[in-house]
Symmetry: D2
Subunit: 291 residues, 4 copies
């Protein structure tokens, strides 16, 4: 298919590369153009501005946060310049409130909005093994199958309202952060009684908790391997904040999320924010005087 792709961070690059490899024609744009170089060598076409990425059947984007979407898409009034019938697939984790605003702006100009946030770290994206949570028109989702097949192991449709996909993504990221804190506290308890954190996590994560999240992050925590980050502490705080905002809007108390927010704030206020968010687990050791 003929697609545009905006936002070439770690995740965006890996996804766009898989689209190129699958034979799609991909127009790429990124604020700092250097990021596009490897993709061009792979066969992508670099375009000079975001608008040029819209001359396509489908526009995908993977931008950092609400503010970046607002700046690149809304302030530039990109949708107004889109062909009628353009499908816009937003792969990023944005707030539930902003998703509604963005979808409405798209639809006003006849652009078909699909919320499609993904689960998976950069290495998962590179392996085309993402899980996509998709909300949008069912016919549109069917048309997107060849693209999704090139980047994901599975698509999980959750209905038509885009905020549903975002709520699932935010609730899922909350679950990951919660697993990080859980492992941190549990490992501190074990270590304080003579069992090394790594040995403890190995027992639990090889058995009852044998799953991608616990095994991947359990290893990082056991090895204190927090750099380079797959997902930074700063982004971790951002996503917990978005989960709490979505919860607030729907009046859902989330005490675990409150603890996570405080711990991310402390981790950022007292340590290097560019570390992987699994460094959250360090706080439990530090609070117990075990560091």
């Amino acid at each position: 298919m003929d697609v545009g792709f905006i936002g070439l961070g770690q995740m965006g690059k890996a996804i766009a590369a898989n689209l190129v490899r699958a034979g799609h024609h991909v127009r790429v744009w990124n604020r700092s153009p250097a990021s596009a170089q490897a993709l061009v060598e792979l066969g992508a076409q670099r375009v000079p501005d975001p608008a040029a990425a819209l001359h396509a059947e489908v526009l995908l984007s993977m931008l950092a946060d609400d503010a970046a979407h607002r700046e690149v898409l809304l302030d530039e009034r990109l949708f107004a310049r889109a062909n009628r019938g353009l499908i816009y697939v937003n792969l990023a984790t944005v707030s539930v409130a902003f998703t509604r605003e963005l979808a409405q702006a798209a639809r006003q100009h006849g652009v078909d909005y699909v919320a499609a946030p993904v689960f998976g770290r950069p290495e998962v994206a590179a392996a085309a093994k993402l899980n996509i949570v998709a909300a949008g028109d069912p016919t549109t989702l069917r048309r997107l199958e060849p693209l999704f097949a090139a980047i994901a192991q599975r698509v999980w449709p959750v209905g038509t309202e885009p905020e549903r996909a975002n709520a699932v993504k935010l609730a899922g990221n909350f679950m990951i952060a919660s697993a990080l804190e859980t492992m941190g506290e549990a490992a501190a308890l074990a270590q304080a009684h003579g069992v090394a954190a790594g040995d403890f996590l190995n027992i639990l994560n090889s058995t009852l908790f044998a799953s991608p999240v616990y095994q991947t992050y359990g290893r990082l925590i056991a090895e204190k391997h927090y750099e380079p980050a797959g997902f930074t502490l700063t982004l971790g705080l951002k996503d917990v904040r978005l989960a709490l905002e979505a919860a607030d809007a729907a009046r859902v108390p989330m005490p675990f999320a409150g603890v996570l927010r405080d711990h991310f704030l402390e981790a950022l206020a007292t340590g290097r924010p560019e570390r992987d968010w699994s460094a959250l687990a360090e706080l439990a050791l530090r609070h117990a005087g075990l560091e």
Copy 2:
């Protein structure tokens, strides 16, 4: 081998049955003798008092809590009547502090103490698929291999001091309770934005969190299938309390455990305590007015 077995609740019965089936000679005792009936039919020998269960190479027990151990084992001064060289294998989840006391009482009378708490619900015990966390003398642990092989899929040795095994068990049960609360809060957030709790948990637990704990309990939560219980809310509170006591003794702050304690207390104060501990997840819905 020639073994005694004390404590025939749901878990004890399943474990003792597997020992009988594996060809061991098993003397069983339980406070309410009716529980022994099925085992006798299977080939076990019912003995009239706990002391008679000690005429064996190995005594195993699976009693409810610290108080039950104190009453059956310490108040009756059972260890004083044991053959020198008896190995006592404690399969139960007891407190870290009590483990030390019990091990010391055993050793004073030449009884070799092995802490061997198990992970697994009754159906896992029945399938001989438990995970055993074992602390004790390595030579003793090797002698116990035929017994452990009959009841567990794997043994995880964690050193010689018995409290280590208990710390691992308590930290592990904390992790399970923490997963229950996490799923409860996340599902409430998803549901408040239009995605059914079951659909949400299915996505996460089929992918990032695909593990026995999340899948087993995710299903119970999605189906609100809280009775009959595999492990009751009352026992859940007991184990969180033990984790907090062990943490307190070693000065380990555990904010998630504090939230769990409050929620178990609320679940018991306001609902039926005999439900499965996964009913903890209901509170998140209730607090959000979604019940």
Copy 3:
């Protein structure tokens, strides 16, 4: 002095009345004009639009939240129409971030911005016994003395940057909410052991905690006298949210504030939001099954 006054809710009406009584010439405006009637009878002048309230030496306002300020002051570009030298005194509790934006908008048009949030419920405002936390130019603050004297028992200057006054106000409101939760939990503990909540609170609040906040709210809690509200649960959540946002911006973890947020959300999700925020204390009883 010649003053304008915008925002005639419970608090605004009481404050404006005291200004009139002290002999100042007060131009009043409110979205729903009926609120101005009693003030006009007292001697105030009703003006037809907010802009007319600016024809004065000093403009005071007491509006509900950030959004109301934005709508009435910024969207209408009021400051552009102000006389150079106008002093604008904002008595309301707004966010730290918005205070900066509003102050900058005022100063761009030569308007002198004073942040002057007040502590005190409507009956305190009526008695001219407010405490004002004031941030602004010291010379300006001196000029405002006759106005403040008419409405407050004391002014507490905290420097020139307006966000300082707002941070103090938000931190102070957090302290009140925290006292509500504290009384709720403590009274539930006492009541569960046979001491009535009112008797318990009377002992503590007559002695160690004898202060306006504990005595006023302790009585409301003891008598379950939550209506009519002096300050609603909805406003309580708003202010805790603002405190958490200000804390987030400065990376200050606030675990008590996190608990408060969850409990306000639960109180709103499960009960009538128009009750006084001291109804927060009811949750402790409900969670303990004591209601």
Copy 4:
């Protein structure tokens, strides 16, 4: 009256001295006898063992914790040696569960048990300004009036069951600890926005929160004046733990108490435990990177 007094720590000494000064005949005993010296000079009679202190109409004690009471009173079977009709007044903060046990042991030997925990730091005890929460037989309480008058500003009777007084004392100490945490978090928020902690606390504690607890502890926090301690961090943790145990026994969730427990543990695990418990407030600054 003819009284015995056991336990001459900071509090016990100050109270016993006031009894002597009021003209009562006081037999004093303390484990380390040196503590009795100043009292002997004041007119007290030092006795060689706890039993000798029971040759009196009334025995008062101020011992450190449950364990000290058990050792001095129960293990020595003191009550068995008491005159029938002895009144035993326990001034200390003990657990709700232990109070029941101790009262029962006393009553078995005809000793009249009065639970009379006190509110007040050592300087308040010295000034005879304590508040006593008393539970016991009303006739007995009347007989004790001359003693109480010599040491307290007021007695608050809460019924006959002794655990009621202890529940009030524990709930009250929880309220103080909660105020410490509240001031810590609020001051950190203010300080992060440019208002010094001392200035902030002065505003709030001079107005809305003007009470002994906020003013005394607010000053200690503002001046970081944590040594010498009036009440140590270690004792603070002990009392929060007792509050949580009493809450657990009655199924009362107390989320603020859970936060306090974690923070006391962290303060002890990472700093000097002999500081005043108001040092709890330092953690809020440290977590925000403001220390």
